[in-house]
Symmetry: C2
Subunit: 167 residues, 2 copies
């Protein structure tokens, strides 16, 4: 397989994988393209390579910047803005975990904190409900803490320690 074919396949696969996890296919594809691009690309190049419109390109790149998965790069002498993505997949994974935690897990936990039935506390059904919600809240909190720990950790240290307890 040559480089261009491989890049193309990877971009398609990353787009498809991302969309199964609630990430807009085009956004995932732009991310993939920048991950496998040697040099920073500008919006025109992204448009051209992925065959998408200027508006679409602009919106999705901005969203990737919000997610801290893509950075703007200033290239001296160039008028246009250029973009790059982190290539170290471990850093990428940590960023995604951090952002999903902040955007989705934390709001869920806040919501669950306020979700309690105070009437009929002796009723069996009410008890079960409150326990189910509590369980979800606690698991979510635990997941959040785990993510924090992973984010702080060094890759090799983390996996080595993890494997050690798992033996």
């Amino acid at each position: 397989m040559n480089l261009d074919e491989a890049k193309k396949e990877f971009i398609a696969a990353w787009g498809s994988f991302g969309s199964k996890w609630g990430i807009n296919r085009t956004m995932a594809q732009i991310h993939a393209l920048l991950m496998v691009s040697h040099a920073p690309l500008n919006a025109d190049e992204v448009m051209e390579i992925l065959n998408i419109s200027r508006g679409n390109t602009n919106m999705n790149i901005r969203e990737l910047i919000n997610w801290q998965l893509v950075d703007r790069v200033i290239i001296s002498g160039e008028r246009k803005e250029f973009f790059t993505a982190e290539k170290d997949i471990w850093k990428v994974a940590k960023t995604i975990m951090r952002e999903r935690k902040r955007r989705e897990l934390e709001p869920l936990i806040e919501f669950l904190k306020d979700l309690k039935v105070n009437e009929d506390m002796n009723n069996e059904e009410v008890k079960t409900f409150n326990e189910t919600i509590k369980g979800i809240k606690e698991l979510s909190e635990q997941a959040g803490k785990t993510i924090d720990t992973i984010i702080k950790s060094d890759e090799h240290w983390f996996w080595n320690a993890f494997l050690k307890i798992m033996r």
Copy 2:
């Protein structure tokens, strides 16, 4: 807050949370409804409570059964089929991890195994590309192993061990 209000809010929140993770909102809502239902429900009850059509109900319940998140229950004397969902959220989480691994992570790993540039192996760009892909493959494999370990583990044992290494 009373039980019915709380259930309603939980169902809506679970639906919204699920849809951010690529799970059909209705499927997540049916799952939520069954998680907080004291007794098993039949399709008519689910339709009625969530205000959805028979076809939609049927398809999404079947999908939840595929995901092993919902079980068919036979109630003697009843002609209709009834459905329940596991209420232990830890078991639910493990099931979701196992299924997503099988459906999404494993196919990705298989794909990445075949994705290698064999031409121009000395070219710097080719080297970087192969390394990026290798990194993603290895991280995915590691994630898969971690999921396997979590699935096999007992909840408390797992978190205790985890916390220990994280001190």
